[in-house]
Subunit: 389 residues, 2 copies
């Protein structure tokens, strides 16, 4: 029996200090005590989001946050451009469609990031009320060039709203809400924050607030206008997941102590080490382009003859390491290693070593130690000066 | 500095044993480990709901659960009858209207329960796609006669769906989901379960499932169809509030050990003791009719000259007892004492004693000890044979 080590792209492992916050007694959510915690969380989130915009919290998963982003700024019939690079981009587009938008999609091949040329072409079919994009596409382990694509949108259609699914991206890869001109940016507590699931958060630009006033999609639980009214008095409209707020406040305190450069540098380092180790073992990665490699999760094809589900089962049974499977069309062909939030070099080394063992056991042509050595060698290279995407 | 004793109608105090569950490490929500917990919670909830229907969990507040109840069975233009006895009944009706229903309202005066004669009259304006009712109206501390009203609805319009807000009622007062023919019954983790907020739950009858297939209100996060598909494989469609599930499983284990009769008997006893104590002090209760008295919360007019907000401030500053204010039109005229979930006789006695002291300090004509004695005397009466509403 092993302790479990979660290496999935959320929920992430939660540090003990943060877990203990979850066990604090309840307080009145209509009290100054709660208002103080909410204010801390807002301030911390603004720091991570690199924004001076409002950050609104909702008791929901990231998907709930994405729904809130859509129903508060769209009206049925609005034209929307959706950039899709995997399951989560598709989900975001599907949601917009469910709520009555006319959705135009630009889809990339699995493992590829948005192609600016194709986006430019698609933008010509505008105007669009909103452009939907995914910062980190968890299903294919792709990091998309949000800065570049957002600039193209803004140049072509200055009025279009830029809605970003940064659920797994925020805090793992650079994201500049204000500097990049992003209008609604959604994240979730169980991702880079390393907090248990239960809270979604949305940064909302003045341009987006303007749209909230005009949007006609019906909404109640996710109504941003109500949320803003209550936020002004330090409350949420409905009873919030108080325990998750406790944990989030502590996690943000820890993140600020580590520093943004430290956090982003660590995620880049873990990504580079893992990818180098896997390549040293001769394994194929779904994302070939280094610049498009997610900093939160890595998607891997196991060697020929090894079924991903069998491999994952053995990793958990023998080493307690929990990996993720593929999603959608990739379900039976890849596995995914999460390295998001509370994750360190030693987790990557341990994962590579365990993976070597299990692959040898399964008869794959893998030389023990090569993966671990590959990661170490990568880390001995001089670290890049900037950690930008 | 006092420890805080929450006596608000949710969030309720959480027992230590349940709080500790909140601090357990994360697991993969797409794993048999999570499925086992979900199954325990479903089974426990079915026991409390007195139902063999599906019980579906959603990461949201009770309001989110109510939205799910509406958007999954209604289509824009559907005619709905809303029985309103306070803020929460009004909210339920408002939500139906936001999502396009044609809402007919029957409103009672503050502190009064549904009047069956007026409901009968209103039903004549049918048919209705659904009838919306509130089991325990938290804002006015009223327990509504759901059994009687549901039977009237079923007799007059056999096809109508009966949607019940039992967020604060389930587990505090009798509710028979199956025997009373209720179609969707909504509750929330932070009420009688005495678990932190974060989960809503819905019991869904076969008649309601039929409606889910036909309803045309747009929905995604709250889509019951998707929830049922995932439920069949022991999962939720979106990342759930895992920690709250841990706590809920433990809370339901404790509730089953206490037994339903024990739980309901205790709530009735606390209600009777508190009301008798307050009356012995000469205080006026908002709900005059004993049969309509909420088993979860009691609404009280303070003596003339005492401002509810000042009184509540002193109760917290001097005794750590946190009471609730009034809501809506009652904000400045009443205070409310919660006695929901993890609450005992000694909490009621302590609250009455502290209240006597504070009122004396405020110059109210109150005789110390009378309130406490009133509760004790009430408890010396033979306990009613049945705990039915």
């Amino acid at each position: 029996m092993h302790d479990i080590r979660l290496m999935i792209p959320g929920p992430t492992p939660v540090p003990d200090e943060v877990l203990r916050e979850m066990a604090r007694p309840m307080i009145n959510h209509r009290s100054p005590m709660f208002s103080a915690i909410l204010a801390d969380c807002r301030k911390g989130a603004q720091w991570l989001y690199r924004t001076s915009h409002d950050v609104i919290f909702m008791t929901a998963s990231g998907t709930g946050g994405l729904e809130a982003a859509l129903v508060n700024v769209l009206s049925p019939g609005d034209r929307v451009l959706s950039l899709v690079s995997g399951v989560f981009g598709k989900r975001f587009a599907d949601m917009a469609q469910v709520f009555g938008a006319e959705v135009h999609r630009v889809e990339t091949r699995a493992g590829e990031a948005y192609d600016p040329a194709r986006v430019a072409e698609a933008l010509e079919a505008g105007p669009f009320k909103a452009v939907l994009m995914t910062h980190n596409e968890t299903s294919t382990a792709v990091l998309n060039p949000i800065e570049q694509v957002a600039a193209m949108v803004r140049a072509r259609w200055p009025e279009a709203l830029i809605l970003v699914d940064a659920v797994s991206g925020l805090g793992s890869a650079p994201l500049e809400t204000d500097a990049w001109g992003l209008d609604v940016v959604v994240s979730g507590s169980q991702k880079a924050f390393s907090v248990p699931p239960g809270l979604a958060m949305l940064a909302v630009s003045p341009r987006a607030w303007q749209a909230v006033g005009e949007a006609r999609c019906p909404r109640f639980y996710f109504d941003l206008g109500k949320a803003r009214d209550f936020d002004a008095k330090g409350q949420t409209p409905w009873t919030p997941a108080i325990s998750v707020f406790y944990a989030l406040a502590k996690a943000l305190e820890r993140m600020q102590a580590e520093g943004l450069e430290g956090i982003l540098g660590r995620h880049l380092e873990l990504t580079t080490g893992l990818r180098s180790g896997l390549r040293a073992l001769g394994m194929e990665l779904l994302v070939k382009d280094e610049a498009a490699a997610s900093r939160a999760v890595t998607a891997v094809f196991p060697p020929a003859g090894v079924a991903p589900s069998d491999f994952r089962k053995r990793m958990q049974a023998q080493y307690g390491i929990v990996l993720a499977g593929g999603q959608g069309a990739l379900t039976d062909s890849i596995f995914r290693v999460g390295h998001l939030g509370h994750c360190s070099r030693v987790d990557i080394l341990g994962c590579l070593a365990a993976l070597e063992s299990v692959l040898v056991e399964l008869g794959a042509p893998v030389e023990p130690g090569r993966g671990v050595a590959g990661a170490q060698l990568a880390w001995q290279q001089p670290r890049p000066a900037a950690v930008g995407a």
